[in-house]
């Protein structure tokens, strides 16, 4: 929801970044306020996933220029774990499998590291169990998945649900959903989107990265940005997504970069 008086959560100015010596982001700018849902669309290789990894702090990506301010602080002053503890959440396109670590333990360790960072009470096994039972409902997850190893042997849909479950527990201020719709059938997509919608409120913000318009039928964005060659080419409202779907990416990528 757009409210011009809302505080700015994330401000990206002229961001450039590279991976393995190849520049991927070429001066990207974007501002996200509390309560807003932004979608970034773009063809493969446009730099969408790179943007999400850079924001979350993946060590393989090097920021070469520009500024990113998160809630008034320089985001790049924070280690990845401190970004997470401060409320930046990345839902992975390909969530990792971690054999030997129980999902429940993992969720509790993650929750408690955020609690500790905020000076709040850490939960023991029993209290956390109560908390998690409520959150499972958000993504309609079978409790049996809690006792299994993190994502091990999960289907694509189960992995994505598990990502949104983590999001529900960590209650981020900025949630970045990287191709959350990839590999999902329509039922799983609805469940995941419905979970995200339940978690969206006036104090947090979302950056939804997707290749297809399909997800945006269920998570309705306030703004849609089209990315190509590491820049935002054009921005608009949710209708831009439909236009893209109808006309294809060539429609914008052949145009000049927009001033955002």
């Amino acid at each position: 929801m757009i409210n011009s008086n809302s505080p700015v959560i994330l401000s990206i100015e002229n961001l450039t970044a590279e991976v393995d010596g190849t520049q991927i982001l070429n001066g990207l700018s974007l501002e996200i306020k509390a309560g807003e849902i932004h979608a970034i669309m773009g063809p493969n290789g446009s730099g969408k996933s790179t943007l999400s990894k850079v924001l979350a702090g993946h060590p393989a990506y090097t920021v070469t220029g520009g500024n990113v301010t998160y809630k008034g602080d320089n985001l790049f002053d924070l280690e990845p774990q401190d970004r997470a503890r401060s409320g930046v959440f990345l839902a992975f396109q390909y969530p990792l499998e971690i054999p030997g670590v129980s999902n429940l333990d993992f969720l509790r360790v993650a929750y408690n590291s955020r609690q500790k960072h905020r000076g709040l009470e850490e939960l023991d096994v029993f209290d956390f169990d109560d908390l998690i039972q409520d959150k499972l409902e958000i993504v309609k997850m079978n409790p049996a998945f809690l006792s299994r190893s993190v994502n091990e042997g999960f289907s694509g849909g189960e992995k994505k649900r598990n990502e949104i479950l983590q999001m529900a527990i960590l209650e981020p201020s900025l949630a970045i959903l990287d191709e959350t719709d990839s590999g999902l059938d329509i039922d799983a997509l609805k469940i995941v989107a419905n979970g995200v919608n339940q978690l969206s409120n006036q104090d947090n913000s979302m950056l939804v990265i997707t290749h297809y318009q399909r997800l945006l039928d269920y998570i309705i964005p306030d703004f849609v940005h089209v990315m190509a060659n590491g820049q935002i080419l054009t921005s608009g409202g949710k209708e831009l997504a439909h236009e893209l779907e109808a006309k294809g990416y060539d429609w914008v990528t052949e145009a000049e970069p927009a001033n955002v």
């Binding site: 979350a56 280690e79 997470a84 959440f89 992975f92 054999p99 030997g100 360790v109």
Partner: protein, 441 residues
Amino acid sequence: MTSTLTNRDTYLAQLLALTSPPATPQLLELRTQAAAYLQEETLPSNKDEEWRFTNLDPLLTQTFAAPDAQLPPVNINGLILPEATNTRIVFVNGIYAPLLSSLANLPAGVFIGNLAAANAAGLEISKYLGKQPGGEEVFTAINTAGINEAAVVWLAPDIAFETPIHLLFITTVDDTAIATQPRALIVLEQRSSATLIQEYLHTSIPVGEAPRNEARPYFNNAVTEVWLGDTAKLNHTRIQDEDITAIHIGKTAVSQSQHSAYTGTSIELGSKLSRHNWEIFQIGAQTETYLNGLTMVNGEQESDTHSTIALTKPHGITDQLHKCIVDDRAHAIFNGKVFVPQAAQQTNAGQLNRNLLLSSTARIDTKPQLEITADNVKCSHGATVSQLEDDEIFYLQSRGLDVETAKILLINAFAVEIIDRIPVASVREKLAVAVKAFKAN
């Protein structure tokens, strides 16, 4: 006293000279046979295939004294297993420590004690002690050539003993380099079952005093012989957590009669140099063997596990999972032999060795070695070497865990698969603490 490399023959003679006179004529006979074998042998070197990757220099550059015949004062409060408070037998520097042991009220048919008590109880020790195949090997023979004492666990037929039995071998770290040769004999007669926790641990003396200026490495040359009668069942956990300067060479030989089941979990944590020769002989049909191993070494440690499973009869089952976690400049070795001769048809044998390298200077040598001549069998084996993946660590960081916590979680996840197979909770908890401390070292 440190000296330069001694000639291997001279060195062997020095080790043999450390022994005290035999307690019984029975032992004298065993000792004489072993000594005769050693006449023709010398200590192995890297030229021997079985010792290709293992550097014995830490042993050969050190000379050792026999331990003091007097029991040193040690405190074992932190080493007691709550599950085995009345089934504990303790040896300190190879000497039986009755006051530290707790063997009251054992049920009929369950014997736990030292060699003298076993003889007094009329157990047929001579039928089993020193009788395992594979005794003709230098370090085993050195132990036998000086044999004077042993921990004995003996279950009469049809005893299902559920209380874990705790065999505790403690060596004191002191300013004298001592050599001890702990020995254990485990006999489960037909249809009996037991759970055994066998530990090689260290402590400093005198209790409560600050560490000495110059602790000397000690040498333990341990031998355990396990005999399982028909349909007997043993769950055996062996933990080697010697002092970080120590040298530990151990043999565990297991002979299994038909329908018996042996589950062994071997944990290697301590010692500058350690070697575990683990030999299983399936001498009866339809026997089951499950071997689990975890080696966790860092610093300058070297740890070698050589396992052998020799099948001889049809319908045997063996399954082995051995894991190594190696950090710093440490070196882990795994050599796993499985012999499936023509007579061992319908064998089902699996072996997997998985290794986690935590530093670029750490080293793993792994050698699965399956020799199969039977044609109607199912056998599989594999070995993997991996590192902690940056992407895994980043995933955990992105959920608020710092790098150190993420690494500990991943290392623990790797180790816990083995640790969880130990049937005694307090042992699992103790090892979980050791895993957490491992990366912090």
